[in-house]
Symmetry: C2
Subunit: 225 residues, 2 copies
DNA sequence: CCAAGATTTGCCCAGCCGGTCAAATCGCCG
DNA sequence: CGGCGATTTGACCGGCTGGGCAAATCTTGG
């Protein structure tokens, strides 16, 4: 009956437990519930923010009672952290495509396309990150100044090598990446504004195509050698 | 569930009262307090979001007691709305510079510079709008689909006329505006990330200059006729 | 079928937070 | 100086929300 230890660090008793949440969850049904909860939490957190989201609301969205949700995730904060971690890789992954051996415009065009596709497929994830970072990244600052900075440094070096080889016009690589992030994520984060002003959003396939074409023109048009 | 304000039209009881808040506030000291409150509210709301902000925290930031703040603004929601309205013009104003009679690249360069300057001068205002829109603009949707859309339509027509005259390369005007908004505001909204990855932010004058130069290259470089 | 563990839920609670109110104080003007 | 409205605050309240608990129910290996 060792039900509830309040130790901050993960329990050392369980060796094989690399999962992000900390609930018991050994069986299939438990695993499925955890996924349901994380999906619901992403939806609600991204729509209302951490403080605006209610645990009971997330539980309802996951079709279970609030105490049942708390059975899988110790606290609201633990759930939020788990959602953030699960979404992190999805956010970082597209950067891998920026390979030094590729043609700069192939690689950058594909990166923009993939990021825009991510904004279309999962706008909630983009909004979650946006709100987290706007508020000072209280849960993500170690990741941002650690893993993210490391990856960006590497990719910036690649872009600089392209420039040094005369394969693209000189531009600060980091500002180029910022511009790509800002523009592609804009269509997810500010979807309401985009819809009001342009009359459509990325869920419309035609609009998605025209957006991609416009971004490629605007962002890469001036970088030909 | 957000509580929606029902007072769409301004109060008709007070003839000479174009102010956004609704407190008594006739004297100089009252007016000064209202300004102090609005400043404090902008800081706190932009840092913690509507739900994360505490009325007592705002009151403390304005150096007064909570009931005293509530004496000037009926409710937290009324205060939030007032802050939003006061910041709105500051956000919309730079668009005026896009004048059809000007040279396209002069006008667009200046617009980018002014927007970036706004991100440097008042990042809190930018963050406030960002969080509001990310969450679906529950307080701003009428403005966005009304005034903002109207202005954007007009400015898009101007850009299209520039294109028709062959003074700049063909590009969707709305996507160009989105890109300018997204990139310039990115340096305010995601300042934490920018600082972690690039080691500096707009408050550093040198970084500000290099950012502006990069944005002009990236955004406008490909639009020469 | 049974015991052990996993899961689920009804019930409860303590603390926080927005907002009220009456009383106290201040500032201004005749 | 006196009075009156503007301002300020301490004390308080009711509702909501995150979270705890133990009992009830379900699953599953043996």
């Amino acid at each position: 009956m060792e039900g509830h230890e309040v130790k901050a660090a993960g329990g050392a008793v369980e060796p094989a437990e690399g999962e992000s949440p900390a609930g018991p969850r050994k069986t299939r049904i438990g695993e499925a519930n955890a996924v349901r909860i994380l999906d619901a939490a992403l939806t609600v957190f991204s729509a209302y923010g951490y403080h605006g989201a209610r645990v009971e609301q997330i539980a309802a969205a996951a079709c279970m009672s609030k105490p049942n949700l708390l059975y899988y995730f110790r606290s609201k904060d633990a759930l939020y952290t788990a959602v953030l971690e699960r979404t992190l890789d999805m956010w970082l992954e597209p950067l891998r495509g920026l390979d030094a051996s590729r043609d700069p415009f192939d690689a950058l065009s594909e990166y923009i396309a993939v990021k825009l596709e991510a904004s279309r497929r999962d706008p909630a994830a983009s909004r979650l990150f946006a709100m987290e970072i706007i508020q000072g990244a209280p849960h993500l600052s170690p990741v941002i100044s650690g893993r993210l900075k490391c990856i960006v440094d590497a990719k910036a070096a690649i872009i600089e090598s392209w420039i040094a080889e005369g394969r693209m016009a000189p531009v600060d690589p980091r500002h180029l990446l910022f511009s790509i992030w800002a523009t592609t994520q804009h269509y997810a984060d500010f979807a309401v504004q985009v819809r009001a002003v342009a009359g459509s959003d990325l869920s419309d396939d035609d609009f998605h195509q025209r957006t991609l074409a416009s971004l490629l023109t605007i962002l890469l048009g001036g970088l030909r050698p």
